[in-house]
């Protein structure tokens, strides 16, 4: 039986630099896994390969048995994959709720003519889109800021907004790229709770890229560690913490006494 989500020998070069090198791992449906590694290890590139921002040089990204590699980004999303960005890509000029509505509308369609005339399913459609968006905002604690411009939110809230927006796409696989970047300990704790929360309530399969050890070790039972584009370790948090390659990647070579 093939895995729910699987990378098979995924490889990508950028003019001589091996960004991702023969990467393979599998995730079961409903797993919450973590992808870690020092800066430049190639983690975001993996996400970019999966979501069609780059084309892999070789290898496959199999989602429910189908290779996402040759697909364009919007096609990957249509298959049920959503992601957030390391550097945040909110629509700064739009309001908080509009950001989520832009995603929520994908699953609540109505025709162009109905949009043109505001007849037919426009009213009920817009109402449903807004309701669904407010619900998600409520879940991430941003409902009271719904009409604020997204760019004016504090950083931690902007990250939550991106997560809410991704959830509005009703994905089956959620890719979170450094959701805790720039957060303090308290914010990380509350983010942990949120991720666990959505993992359970939506039955999502989640892959998280993270640097913050507190987050990744806390919530992920399955961790893959990368360095220089290749997988150097895979296992439970305990396995990873003890793994010599991982220690070397993060702490450098051990000095022989």
């Amino acid at each position: 039986m093939s895995a729910f989500f699987e990378l098979v020998h995924l490889t990508k070069n950028f003019g001589g630099v091996q960004a991702v090198s023969d990467l393979s791992f599998a995730m079961e449906k409903g797993e919450l896994a973590g992808l870690m590694g020092p800066n430049g290890a190639g983690k975001t590139t993996v996400f970019n390969l999966i979501t069609g921002v780059y084309d892999p040089d070789s290898g496959q990204a199999l989602f429910k048995g189908e290779d996402l590699g040759p697909l364009k980004t919007y096609q990957v999303t249509a298959k049920g994959v959503a992601r957030t960005f390391q550097n945040l890509r909110l629509f700064q000029r739009s309001t908080v709720v509009e950001n989520v509505m832009t995603a929520a509308q994908q699953h609540i369609p109505y025709g162009f003519v109905e949009g043109l005339t505001h007849l037919g399913r426009w009213r009920s459609g817009e109402r449903a889109i807004r309701a669904k968006s407010m619900e998600l905002l409520d879940r991430v604690g941003l409902a009271d800021r719904a009409n604020q411009a997204a760019g004016t939110l504090p950083y931690g809230h902007q990250r939550r907004l991106e997560i809410a927006r991704a959830l509005a796409l009703e994905p089956e696989l959620l890719l979170l790229d450094e959701p805790a970047a720039g957060m303090n300990a308290e914010e990380v704790n509350s983010l942990n709770a949120l991720i666990r929360n959505i993992h359970q309530d939506f039955g999502l399969t989640i892959l998280v890229i993270e640097h913050h050890m507190d987050l990744i070790m806390e919530i992920c039972k399955h961790i893959i560690c990368m360095n220089f584009g290749a997988k150097i370790a895979e296992g439970t948090p305990e396995d990873i913490q003890a793994h010599p390659e991982v220690l070397k990647a993060y702490l450098g070579e051990e000095e022989t006494a």
């Binding site: 975001t44 970019n48 921002v53 960005f85 550097n87």
Partner: protein
């Protein structure tokens, strides 16, 4: 057969002038990643300065030319400082730069319309246009040979500047990644000013030759559209591409004018653009601009 060779030489000559303009435009694009639509304005400024010096002061073509280059270069730097830098410093939305550049283009052109009048002016005949026998194969004009040679000299000079000087190296680094070049200690604002100066100067040379070919008038800058198209065909941001694209365009125009009809010239140019975008949008030597995601 002689017509063919004649038109080929014509085409190369026209193409080489386009190349001077297209290269300057591509240079700016490669560093700032936006199309400076005001580029035509620098061309016109160069043309009018040259005309003014030749007619008003009776100076030599060398003096007039030098003054044009400097004048257009300075105008380019000023345009950047006044119109683009404030926008650049505030936001990275290139749409605003595009709109401002279009505005500048119109402002420059119309200043000349108002001040110099819309008349067509012929440059005093200091650039030889006498017919020349080309190896017995065809008769071409000295002008065509001269514009080709001048273009080669200037483009060669640019190449030397880019490969053998420190600022040239800085520009090539900036074309690769402006921010990183800045982080490496390059004075980004000064670099951009230098790039604009060079682009303006090259446009001025092109402008002088185009004024001789087509007479001088404020809307002459409109010809830069063809240079833009040449740059796209060659690959936006690539300097060799701009040159090759320009030559192709010049040849296509002249061959069409010679063998089909003069009116079809511009349509052929436009069709080449559409074909390029359909078949190989990044152009012949395209620089692929990947955004960091």
């Amino acid at each position: 057969m002689t017509t063919l060779i004649q038109q080929i030489i014509n085409g190369l000559s026209l193409g080489s002038v386009y190349a001077l303009i297209a290269v300057g435009y591509s240079l700016v694009y490669s560093v700032l990643l936006f199309s400076n639509f005001a580029h035509g304005g620098f061309l016109v400024i160069g043309g009018y300065i040259c005309y003014g010096v030749l007619r008003g002061m009776g100076g030599s073509i060398w003096f007039a030319g030098a003054l044009s280059l400097v004048g257009a270069g300075v105008a380019a730097v000023l345009t950047e400082r006044l119109a683009y830098r404030p926008i650049r410093e505030r936001t990275n939305v290139t749409l605003y730069l595009l709109i401002a550049s279009m505005g500048m283009s119109i402002v420059i052109e119309n200043i000349f319309v108002i001040v110099a009048g819309g008349r067509f002016r012929a440059l005093p005949p200091v650039i030889p246009t006498a017919p020349v026998d080309f190896f017995g194969l065809a008769t071409t004009s000295a002008f065509d040979i001269l514009s080709l040679v001048t273009a080669v000299v200037f483009l060669g000079g640019l190449q030397i500047f880019l490969t053998k000087t420190r600022w040239g190296l800085a520009i090539r680094a900036a074309a690769y990644d402006l921010r990183t070049a800045g982080l490496m200690g390059v004075n980004v604002n000064r670099l951009i000013s230098i790039v604009f100066f060079v682009a303006g100067a090259l446009a001025a040379v092109g402008g002088i030759f185009l004024s001789v070919r087509y007479t001088l008038y404020p809307q002459l800058g409109g010809i830069t559209t063809k240079a833009f198209i040449a740059a796209v065909i060659g690959g936006l941001g690539s300097l060799p591409g701009a040159v090759v694209g320009s030559l192709i365009l010049g040849l296509a125009e002249m061959l069409t004018a010679g063998f089909i009809s003069s009116q079809m010239r511009d349509l052929v140019v436009f069709s080449l653009l559409v074909i390029t975008l359909l078949v190989k949008p990044s152009g012949l030597f395209g620089k692929s601009v990947g955004e960091k995601v």
